[in-house]
Amino acid sequence: MNATPKLSLYEASPHQVMGNFAQTLLFDGSFEGLLSAVFTSYSFATECKVVKQESHIPTLFEHSQWVESDPAKSQRVWEGIQNKCGIEIANMVHLAFLSPKELIPTQINQYLRLLFAHPEQSKNILNPIVQSIFDTARQVRHEAHRFQGFVRFRQAKDGFLYAIIDPECDIIDILHPHFQRRYPNESWMIVDSQRGKGVRFEKGLLTPFFCDPAQLPQNDLASAQLAAEGEDVWVLLWKNYYNAVNISERKNTKLMLRCLPRKYWKYLPERQG
């Protein structure tokens, strides 16, 4: 056993959480790249920091190393997680990865190291590492659920239903199955305005696509320009409905902002002006 005192498993040592890292591993930002970095970090005795290449700012005494995204390695890690702890934990790790927080790749790396060493600890939320992954996954899931309601389609000139969203987390991939089930016979597309990521659904076929975020409408007013003739009639009906349903004697702005924070107002027609 090591000379260092053995801490109980449900409490992480301060080193693990604060960061006494051997190396910094840089990856390309994809989930495959992250799993490849996890694979590489396994060869180091102590923990590694894992950072996306694009958001990396090198510090003075840091050793950084680029990890190429390797499908074989990442597949091994992915299957390893499933074999040790099941598909639910694997999906949860994927969900946590969609969060924009900078520490997430490092935390996922820490969690996976813990998971491979002690699979039974994977659900122990008394451990701060496990809890941070659970919490992040919950936040991502929660935002995706909210956006099931906040996606607002408009009919475009060519008959397509289009919607633009501005989420904090990268939720397009977990959002579209809901709309596939709900609108199987329509043609629609949803685009993430910050990441330029979108999905397009037509005649039962779903195709992801990428576009330049700078060319996308940055608010609801601009988004309305792309709509078909007569579309503003329906939007006006919706705005009228929204105002009519409000009970002014029960005004509670704090509650409304808690449920519908301002960051989501950009593409909601009823909250403009």
Binding site: W238, Y241, A244, I247, E249, C259
Partner: protein, 417 residues
Amino acid sequence: MQHKLSILADAAKYDVTCSSSGGSRNTPVGGIGNSAPTGICHSFTEDGRCISLLKLLLTNVCLYDCAYCRNRRSNDIPRATFRVDEVVQLTLEFYRRNWIEGLFLSSGVIRSPDYTMEALMLIAKKLRVEHSFGGYIHLKAIPGASPELIALAGLYADRLSVNIEIPSNPSLQLLAPEKNYDSVYKPMDSIHHAITESKVERKKSRNAPRFAPAGQTTQMIVGASPESDFHILELSSSLYQKQEMKRVYYSGYIPVNTDPRLPSITSTPLRRENRLYQADWLMRFYHFSYNEILDHKNPFLDNDFDPKLAWALRHPEFFPIDLNTADYQQILRVPGIGVQSAQKIVQSRRFGKIRSEHLKRLGVAYNRARYFIIDPSQPISLQHLYPEQIRARLLPPPKPMQFDLFSQNTTPLLLSA
């Protein structure tokens, strides 16, 4: 249509028994829409309430003259009536743009309860049959409508409801002379009967028709009549047990009409409504019975404390409990620990001892829970307190009174005769 929509959505806004959860429906082949069991909120109004359905009255013309209702016969307000195809079109166009989960349709009584109920039923039928609509539909059952029409309505709707409106029969008859508990309970019981029968039939055969799969709900106005909270909770409890209601909604009385039969209050009893919802949650999720929360000696819910805390302060013999050894039911009773925190405690305590630093991370309201659990890290002075001492510590801090030196409206200390 803009004009009609403004009037009829505004007229429908006081009916809060409107949630999109509970229904689970798959998209019909070639059709549009499904129903998510959890419900989805599409937007929120400035009063903080969720908009998930297109909530409309088919018409705000009404034969009845209920004192508490804005749409009563004797009020002089603009009236409008939708055509069946207008409601269908609105629902479909809003739905395909993902602005709503479905339709919530109520109505004033026009010509007769049966005539109105048939119109509501036809709209639901058109959506389901002609347009293959798979979204959520909630229909109000009109008191006095024939059971056959209600039976048809349940085949197309996800949820049906009849509003009980006032918590006691004498008060209801005073405020709404055309209604009484008989006319309200009859449709409620027939819906309940039809739901139960359909469940039995579906166990025998998958092809048996579903009847209102999301169940039945109801709503009562709080503060328009003198009943105590104890009476209201007793009534809710019986509705949950006998009629197997999915939910009972409480709506704080908003003074829309001036009427000698109604109390002359200026503000809605929002705090009381909030406490009633908390008590309702205790009955449904925390296995409290209504006579544990309140009794004849304490017929009103405490204003300063939530009902669970009030119960804990009245029953110090149950506390403190040890979170590491107590069972789930006991942990649920601790103020500040909700259902999710209790489940997390039970699941994670097999990994190690639960200590106070873990509780905050698990989502427990530690400031309340600390007085009711065994916690060695607390100073001795805070362990084993009497309820009066705990009460004093948990009261919200009094708002400081600001006397304005230069204020124009000074109230005289002595009122002259």
